[in-house]
Every structure is written in C-alpha cells, then in structure tokens.
C-alpha cells in the first residue's frame, strides 16, 4: 500500500471508508489523484469474520460501541437527553456495507420530487431534490456493475427505468420467499426477487455466496457480499495512489486564512494527535458522524460549526422506519439459511392521497434473527418466558418462523437532529453525539398501514399464527439520512447538487447526510451519489476548479 507523510499535501483526504468513502477512494485514486482515507475503525479481512453471534453482534465487534462512544437521545428538544445508543453504524473499513443485509434498491423517479408531487406538508421540510433520477441512472448502473448486484430487471412493475440488466441473476428463492409470493399473489400484489449486493455467481475474481446465512450483522467470510471492503477498497489500494489509514479518528477539519480547508486533525491508533494536509477534504462519515464532525470543527470564522451558515447542519435527520411482523408456518422453513431476503414488493412504495396521510414503503420477506436473539425476542409477546413450555415453543418456532419487514418513509423535520451533547464526552474527550428524534404522525400512520398489509400477506400465505412488534417512533436508527441536505439555495441547504459545501469550496460531504428525502433503502443511492460526486470532483480537480 502506498503511504503518504502527513506533511505531504495530498490531493484528497477522505474521512470514512464506508459505502461512499470506498467509492470515492476508488474513483479518485483511479484517476491518479493522491488519496488518504482516514477510518476510525479497524481494517479487517475475511479471515477475521466468524459465525459468532455473541462476539460479533452482542459485543459490537463491527459497529460503534457505547464503551468508546457513548451517545444521548431525546424525543424533543425540551427534554433532557439520556444515555442511549440511538445511532448505529459500521465502524470499520467498509463501514455499514461490511455488515449490512445487502438490500440494494434504487430510488424511484418520484422520490426526487416529492414536494412537487404531494405539495408542502405543514411543519415538515419536504422538498424536491435539486437532481433527478435521470441524473443518477448511469451511476446506479455503475454501482451495480462495479460492486456486483444480483437481481432480476423488469420483475418489479413499479421499478424505475433502467438501461442495463443486473450484472448477476437473483439469489435462489427461500421458503419465506415462496410463502410471501403465495400470500402476495392471492392479494393481487407483485412480489419480485430482491436486488442484493451479494454475488449469486462468481464475479470479477470473487466467490459466489455459499448461503451460510450470516449476512446481516456479520462480515462475509468468503467476500461474496459486495461491501466496499471486498470491492472498491482493494481496487483503490491497487492503483498505488491510495492509502487507507485505519484506526484514525478525525476530530476537526482545519480552515486556512483563505477560507479553504487545509486538512484534517485526527487521533492516530495510539491516540496521538496528527494533522494530514490536503488540497481538498471529502467527508463520508455517515449521516450522523458527518454533521458531528462539522459541528466539532467550529472556529472563529465558523462559530456555529463548519459549513453551517444555513444553520441546518445536523437538522432534518431521517431514520429508518418500518413495521416488523412474524408468521408461524406448519413445516420448517429453515430460513436462517442463505441471504436474509429473497423476495419483496413495492406495491405500497408510493404515497397515495387516498390513504389520508403521506407515506409509503416496500415490504420484504426475511428471517432476521440468529439463535440467541431468537431465544431472547423471537417468540410472540404472550409466549411463556421460561420453563418447559418456553423450551417447547423455541424448538417449534425457530425453523418455522418468517418475518415481514417494511421499509417506510420518514418525513424530514427540522427539529429532528444530530447535535453535540453539552456534557457527555467520548473516550477521546470529544463531545458525544446527541440525537433528537420523534417522527411525524404520518410516519406512524404509514407504519401502521404497512403492518396491516404485512399481516394480511402472512395470513394469505397460510400462517398458523401471526404477531407484530408495536408500531412506534424509532429510538434507534442505522439508516442515517438528511443532516446536511443538498440544495441550490445556500440558506436552505448545506451542500450543492455536487456535494460541495456552499460555504467552503474545497470541502465535500458525500453520504446519507446529503439526502433531501429518505427513499426506502439508502445504500444503493448513497453509492450512486458517490460515483456521481467522484466523477464530478475528479473532473473539477483536473480543471483546477476546486
């Protein structure tokens, strides 16, 4: 791996090696620029990943952890925020793409112009994106092609137009998929094979999925999951222009007298402070850590936080909403095997004014639990909690249960935010992250509506019994969106349509923080945005326009 000195002024320093950072590193180093990627988590490899629920999921081996980075949460600004890990993200090279489920949905055309379609909604920041689906289509295709996505084009009648098929055929159907199709078709709905960032066939020197079942929450032991760790990051390193510096935690972006960013200040793995000089800074730290870093980068010139002349850094936070339903069937599904999701539907994706509220979502069929979690929370709420009756239910339910999960809209509300906790510090003495979040009543109505549809599908599929988690405003999120929204008006947005901050010309923010609205599944769009931003930034840099 190429190594740069901190005193050397590199072309780009990228903060965060996740979904977006990996793509940015690949494209910019491929164009010959010198790139240093600073990642707070470790650089793990396939051999480090295990089928170990306690060590991986319970002990948060791959994600941020309260021991090092405690957080606080409150529903409303008037409340005192209490200790709570509201925000979860992949804290490693590869970021969330290393441990994610692999759901890879493009946005629909309408997702980019929701205000035009549905009108303003009082008390919300519902707005159109400054870009449209057509602007992103080539980059969606590039992401699918370069990373490796399995799926079946034209199987979804609600699918946005695409110029190319998926590069790989869909994953094999599971029992949950068969039952979901059975139930959905009876109701006149349109289930289709899930597009997944997991390889159904060997692809570009990588292994096909072996169906071990350890996707969600785990790193793939054979590199079949199309994380940035398994794809673009090795490719970036191969260019000889990119250094990945793991275990490096950025605390401040420095601004020179010219008003441009000069580099980033960070703690190295030994907690020593260092400063990496760069001609341009690209923050890809996710929809929660990106605004936190900007707020921590306050200075005399930027007393309210960097790139925050709009006052909107950290605002309009959107988190993943959805309903979670379970069904028990007569025979074993063994749905713990293979990828989590094999079928889904988009019939309720779009909002429909006839419902009387704003919102919509997709529904997927999956099995979402490993043995420990199933033992602790997989049975219906009224099930016995211990003793022989509990044991009998456990032995019957584990192989015969499937889940339907919806992924639904969250309205952007200015009061929902990431900010710095005034009291609490992390293990580096930096201000802890504080989340303020209470979703809009229409988001709750949407979840309730989808829950009813999910239960109908399970019933139509022949479930012997069904049950649901209560619908409520999420107190935790892993889809982190909207906190540095994109727009053309510097008073109403933080970045321009190419992710350049309105306030600092050589500072770019590329991740879920740019989202204006939330879509239904973010990763595919985060990566398409990253390919588009990298293309633009690379060309602008060559022209000397940064």
């Amino acid at each position: 791996m190429r190594q740069y000195k901190v005193t050397e002024t590199v072309d780009f320093v990228i903060v965060g090696a996740g979904a977006a950072g990996g793509v940015m590193a690949r494209v910019l180093s491929g164009a010959g620029f010198s790139v240093v990627v600073l990642e707070q988590g470790p650089h793990l490899h396939e051999r480090d990943f295990k089928h170990d629920e306690l060590g991986t999921v319970f002990h948060r081996a791959l994600t941020n952890d309260a021991k090092l980075q405690p957080q606080t949460f409150r529903a409303e600004a008037a409340e005192r925020a209490l200790l709570s890990q509201a925000i979860g993200y992949g804290r490693m090279v590869g970021g969330g793409t290393a441990h994610f489920t692999g759901n890879y949905w493009r946005f629909h055309e309408g997702d980019f112009r929701e205000k035009s379609r549905w009108g303003s909604i009082a008390g919300t920041g519902l707005a159109d994106w400054p870009i449209g689906y057509a602007d992103l289509e080539p980059y969606y295709a590039q992401a699918e092609e370069e990373l490796g996505v399995s799926g079946l084009a034209e199987a979804n009648p609600f699918e946005p137009p695409r110029k190319t098929p998926y590069p790989l055929p869909p994953m094999p159907i599971k029992s949950s998929g068969v039952l979901f199709e059975r139930g959905a078709r009876k109701l006149g709905l349109h289930p289709f094979p899930a597009p997944l960032a997991i390889l159904s066939r060997p692809y570009r020197g990588r292994n096909a999925c072996l169906h071990c079942g350890f996707c969600e929450g785990y790193g793939c032991e054979v590199g079949a999951k199309s994380s940035t760790l398994a794809t673009v990051i090795p490719a970036a390193l191969q260019t000889g222009c990119c250094e990945i510096r793991a275990g490096c935690y950025v605390r401040k972006i420095e601004i020179g007298t010219s008003g441009k960013a000069t580099g980033v200040r960070y703690f190295d793995p030994q907690k020593r402070e260092a400063f990496q000089k760069a001609r341009s800074v690209i923050v890809c730290s996710n929809g929660a850590e990106t605004p936190r870093l900007l707020l921590m980068s306050r200075s005399n010139r930027f007393p309210d936080g960097l790139a925050n002349s709009s006052g909107l850094v950290g605002k309009f936070l959107m988190l993943d909403c959805g309903a979670f339903c379970s069904g028990l069937f007569e025979f074993p599904l063994n749905d713990y095997k293979s990828v989590q999701v094999s079928r889904l539907l988009h019939d309720f994706y779009d909002p429909d004014p006839k419902r009387g509220f704003y919102g919509g979502g997709g529904i997927d069929a999956r099995f979402d639990m490993n043995p420990m979690q199933f033992g602790l929370s997989g049975l219906p709420a009224d099930a016995p909690k211990w003793g022989s009756a509990y044991k009998r239910m456990l032995s019957e339910y584990f192989t015969r249960t499937m889940h339907l999960l919806s992924h639904s809209t969250t309205l952007p509300l200015e009061k929902n935010s990431i900010s710095l906790d005034p009291d609490l510090k992390d293990a580096w003495r930096l201000p802890a992250m504080r989340t303020t979040f209470q979703c809009h009543p229409d988001d709750i109505k949407t979840m309730q509506f989808l829950m009813e549809r999910q239960l109908e599908i399970l019933d139509a599929a022949g479930a012997r019994r069904t049950w649901s988690l209560p619908v409520e405003s999420p107190k935790q999120g892993v889809h982190l969106m909207g906190t540095c929204r994109m727009g053309t008006d510097p008073s109403k947005s933080v970045v321009d349509p190419f992710h350049r901050t309105h306030d600092v010309p050589n500072l770019f923010l590329v991740d879920g923080s740019s989202f204006v609205t939330c879509g239904r599944q973010p990763t595919c769009t985060i990566q398409a945005l990253a390919y588009r931003a990298a293309d633009y930034i690379g060309r602008a840099a060559k022209r000397g326009e940064i």
Partner: protein, 172 residues
C-alpha cells in the same frame, strides 16, 4: 476397519466445523472464574428451571452455568452485584423451605422462581441462560451444541437450496 472409518469421519467432521473455531467436543473445565462452587451449584439449578431437561438436554446439560461464570468474569462485570445480592435473597427464600435452593424439590424450585419472576436478578439469569444455551459453544454454554440441536439450527459454512420445506416443495 470400522474403527478407522469412524475416526476418519470424526476428523472430517472436525475439519468441516473448523470455520466456527469449535467442535462438538466439550470444553475442558478450568475452574470457576467468578462464582464460588456453592454459587455455581445454585445458579445451575436456576438455569435448569429456565430451560429444563425434558427428554432433551436443558441448560444444565448444556453447561450454561459455565457460560454465565465466564460472561460475568469477562464481559459483564456490571452484573456481578446483581448475582451476589440475588443469590443471597434466593438462599434466604429457600431456607424458609428448609434447605438450599438447589436441594429443594423440582416443584418447590419452580414455585419459588415464579415468586421472584419480576426481579432484576431473575430477568438477568433468564437472559444469560438463553444467551449461553444458544451462543457459540466456544463460550462454554451450548456444549454438544445442545441448544442449537433443540431449535434446529445447523452451523455450517455452506448450504445448498432447497433450504426448507416450502422452497423444496416448489421445485418438485
């Protein structure tokens, strides 16, 4: 000849399992890390009520108390005081019946635990029992993969479709 074949099969099974860094063999016991011998016996009796033997292995047979001991010593030291005070309270309750909890009849043990079902202590032991019963055997519980066998979970490096009854039935 038959012996040799069995050995070869055992080696193959070890190799096949090596990805998860454990085998079907039981972990050697190296002494209690947090519990006293007496505390371990009492906690084991509680775990055996939470997941009892009923023709198939329960928490006792799976060695769950060893998981709990390791977990309290290594990963969840914050829970130690809950066990200490909870065991003291449990012992006081049991003494009213005339003996240590572990020496009471099965019915009396069950009855006593029903009375303390809502306590922080019982809830923590219940959580730890389930965790130990279903976690990777390398952590001490789930010996012989007793928990995984009960629920029908096979930890394999690779599976082939069909995975379950319904996708299998569709292909036929």
């Amino acid at each position: 000849m038959r012996q040799a074949t069995l050995q070869a099969a055992a080696v193959w099974s070890l190799l096949a399992n090596s990805h998860s860094h454990e085998s079907d063999e039981r972990m050697p016991f190296t002494g209690w890390k947090f519990f006293t011998q007496e505390q371990a016996r009492e906690v084991e009796a509680v775990t055996a009520q939470i997941i009892p033997y009923d023709g198939t292995a329960g928490a006792r047979e799976a060695g769950v108390v060893r998981f709990i001991d390791m977990n309290l010593a290594q990963f969840e030291q914050a829970g130690q005081h809950i066990y200490r005070s909870g065991l003291t309270h449990l012992s006081e309750q049991a003494q009213k019946e005339g003996s240590a909890f572990s020496q009471l009849s099965d019915a009396k043990q069950h009855e006593l635990l029903e009375r303390i079902e809502q306590t922080e202590f019982f809830e923590l032991v219940r959580t730890h029992t389930i965790m130990g019963f279903l976690s990777n055997p390398s952590y001490g519980g789930n010996q012989g993969k007793a928990g995984w066998k009960l629920i029908g979970f096979e930890d394999a490096f690779a599976f082939q479709p069909p995975f379950g009854y319904y996708d299998g039935a569709q292909k036929e």
